[in-house]
């Protein structure tokens, strides 16, 4: 049977060729980092593809569809796996890179394989950055705003890069479209192409082997099944950790992005904390140093490493300067990371902003309610439209309100109470601190009499009384 297929496709021979590979010095758990990273990438692609089934990229649907994902246990779990998978992938890319540097595995003839690897690191970080905006909650908005605006420090073309990145002069719905396209198509396509090149070159050069004077006389071991088993075993462990974390610590969705919020302390993903710390170290007028120059120099050094490391062998003894450089760089990166984390935590503790768990905001399907109650239908449909255009940006799409600022309408005794008083508030506005169900709110309710006709105010009042 296999023979019959092989004669017509050549696939069996191809698979055998693929699995027959000598491993210098025998299979080892030291060689699992590359394949573990590949596993994390496959996991990200698998979960990511299905998240696009539920996510809708636009400013009026991004947060709402994410909230719906959070409210479906299975969809939420897929999202949690994607969230932890992204951290796993970045961590494994770093570990893989670290091992290659420690072992000097980038040396001739593996320079191009190394450069493709550095490109993969950059693409992975862009994937992390673009994915960060998509949920469109508070941190997604403000952290991305800061990251995008940093491109303005680039001389001459900074403004162009910034407007190009956000597709316009402000961060908005077009930015979500653009980041979505980058995150789900362009960057993954680049990632898969680069991984294919990385692996093809790897097979061409063969494994580098341990960092000894001359690895050639070492007794070789088998790729299949010895090394494949180790790779699979480690991938299984990583999968178990991701599953565990997805159960114990699923990601958090905050309130929908509110550009006017002035207390919020944005925080970057953990793998950007070192760059964040760098920005805080340099004075404002030298922002370009922290934002562009130092990261640029670091990337250049990384690309040129095979030519900077001039020793002829890969032994640790002959590569002391490079290993010292690596130790110092790692100390700086870790130091900046922990320092930034501590700084952000201190600022968050001091900020009056309190995150809202979006999963506790119940979407009571108000749009479906008027359709069910046929008698009230004409007025309610009209009111729903007026509500979504004029009121929902403060009081929320389902009338859930915004803590501390705009009171909820759903379940609000004033809304359910005297209709004359309610109409009066909508018509003439309301100022100053109010209390609703034991919570205080101090936002401003504008007077709508200049904007809406009395009949429209009546329709919207009728509508908000149906919110539950």
């Amino acid at each position: 049977m296999l023979n019959w297929i092989d004669q017509r496709t050549g696939f069996v021979t191809m698979a055998k060729d693929f699995l027959r590979e000598d491993i210098p010095g025998g299979a080892s758990y030291w060689y699992v980092f590359g394949s573990a990273t590949l596993f994390a990438m496959i996991l990200q692609i698998a979960t990511g593809i299905f998240l696009t089934f539920f996510y809708a990229p636009s400013a009026s649907t991004a947060w709402e569809s994410t909230q719906a994902i959070y409210q479906n246990p299975f969809q939420h779990f897929v999202l949690s796996m994607h969230y932890w998978g992204s951290s796993a992938m970045i961590a494994l890319v770093f570990l893989h890179l670290l091992q290659v540097v420690v072992w000097g595995a980038y040396k001739s003839p593996r320079e191009i394989q190394w450069i493709v690897g550095v490109l993969l690191l950059l693409v992975t970080m862009v994937l992390g950055l673009t994915g960060y905006l998509l949920p469109w909650d508070m941190n997604a908005y403000f952290a991305s705003q800061v990251a995008i605006n940093l491109t303005l420090t680039v001389p001459v073309v900074g403004t162009f890069i910034q407007t190009f990145a956000q597709d316009g002069t402000t961060l908005g719905t077009l930015t979500i479209n653009r980041f979505f396209g980058l995150h789900v198509w362009l960057m993954p396509a680049a990632l898969v192409a680069l991984v294919a090149a990385h692996l093809a070159i790897f097979r061409h050069n063969g494994p580098a082997g341990p960092p000894v004077e001359d690895p050639r006389p070492l007794k070789p071991g088998r790729f299949w099944p010895d090394q494949v088993f180790m790779d699979t075993f480690v991938s299984f462990l990583i999968f178990a950790i991701i599953i565990g974390l997805s159960f114990i610590a699923p990601p958090f969705l905050d309130a929908k992005a509110d550009p006017t919020q002035s207390q919020f302390v944005p925080y970057p993903a953990w793998y950007f904390l070192d760059l964040f710390g760098l920005l805080n170290l340099v004075p404002g007028q030298f922002e370009i140093v922290g934002a562009i120059i130092i990261p640029g120099i670091a990337t250049t050094i990384l690309v040129l490493l095979p030519w900077i490391d001039r020793s002829t062998t890969r032994t640790f003894g002959s590569r002391k300067p490079i290993l010292w450089m690596l130790t110092v760089s790692m100390a700086i990166i870790l130091g900046l990371t922990f320092w930034s984390q501590a700084g952000i935590q201190a600022k968050e503790a001091a900020s009056p902003y309190k995150p809202v768990d979006a999963t506790t905001i119940t979407a009571a399907a108000p749009a479906a309610a008027p359709a069910a109650g046929a008698a009230a239908a004409p007025a309610a449909i009209d009111g729903a439209k007026i509500f979504s255009t004029n009121c929902s940006s403060c009081h929320g799409a389902t009338g859930q309100g915004m803590p501390g600022t705009f009171p909820p309408l759903a379940g609000n005794p004033v809304v359910q109470g005297d209709i004359k008083k309610l109409t009066g508030i909508v018509t003439d506005g309301l100022h100053g601190k109010i209390m609703v169900k034991g919570q205080s709110y101090d936002g401003m309710m504008p007077a709508w009499k200049g904007t809406l006709k009395p009949a429209e105010i009546d329709a919207v009042v009728t509508y908000i009384r149906t919110l539950k």
């Binding site: 400013a59 605006n149 002069t169 719905t173 077009l174 919020q261 002035s262 944005p266 920005l279 007028q285």
Partner: protein, 215 residues
């Protein structure tokens, strides 16, 4: 892979000189046609990605009356004034959202001396009076990286929660990473109502550059 079932190869015979020139032509033509396809795809795709960057025309938006009254009654402490900004985010339907600006009562001569930068945008002067009726209106967006700052009463300063930029009550930059002082917005009075024009300036850069007049 075994190719045993195949006959002799076309590549075994180099061919006549005419065949060789013809093949050279076909190889070059293949590359050229492929290049044209690539270029024909690249031009519209790159064009489609270019952002719209026109600043548009400014419109006047009424400030909340209570906030305006509070500013008029104030001394030298900044007042946060709310208003409703109506605008469009690209293709989404027009929507209203709550916004706010900071207003402060200033002494015109002192203000001019302390904040000469307010009168300048890149390439010239601000096309509107930065102080009107004795008030300066500041955009609530931090000129550093676009966060929203607050006024700290006890310190008598504007503080930004993101990266710690600080500004005095009249918007002078005193500490933190920002590159310039707070940005002015035009103010006028029409039929007893105060109105402003909502302008966004490029953050981060030392120059004050208008990026959009949001309608």
């Amino acid at each position: 892979m075994s190719n045993d079932h195949r006959g002799p190869s076309a590549y075994d015979d180099p061919g006549t000189p005419e065949e060789i020139t013809r093949r050279t032509f076909m190889a070059n033509a293949t590359l050229t046609l492929g290049g044209i396809i690539g270029l024909g795809l690249a031009i519209p795709i790159v064009g489609s990605l270019l952002p719209k960057t026109g600043t548009g025309g400014g419109t006047w938006t009424a400030l909340d009356a209570a906030g305006w009254k509070e500013l008029q009654a104030s001394t030298d402490k900044p007042v946060k004034i709310d208003f409703v900004l109506t605008g469009k985010d690209a293709y989404l339907p027009e929507a209203s959202s709550p916004e706010s600006v900071w207003g402060v009562k200033v002494d015109l001569e002192k203000f001019k001396a302390k904040r000469p930068d307010v009168y300048q945008v890149k390439g010239g002067e601000v096309p509107y009076p930065a102080v009107n009726m004795g008030f300066a209106i500041f955009s609530p967006i931090c000129p550093h990286l676009g966060c929203r700052f607050n006024y700290d009463d006890s310190a008598g300063k504007f503080l930004c929660p993101c990266h710690g930029s600080q500004f005095t009550a009249i918007g002078e930059h005193t500490a933190g990473p920002a590159d310039r002082g707070l940005d002015p917005l035009p103010l006028r009075e029409q039929n007893g109502k105060a109105q402003i024009t909502w302008i966004r300036y490029a953050p981060t850069v030392p120059d004050r550059i208008v990026v959009s007049y949001m309608s």
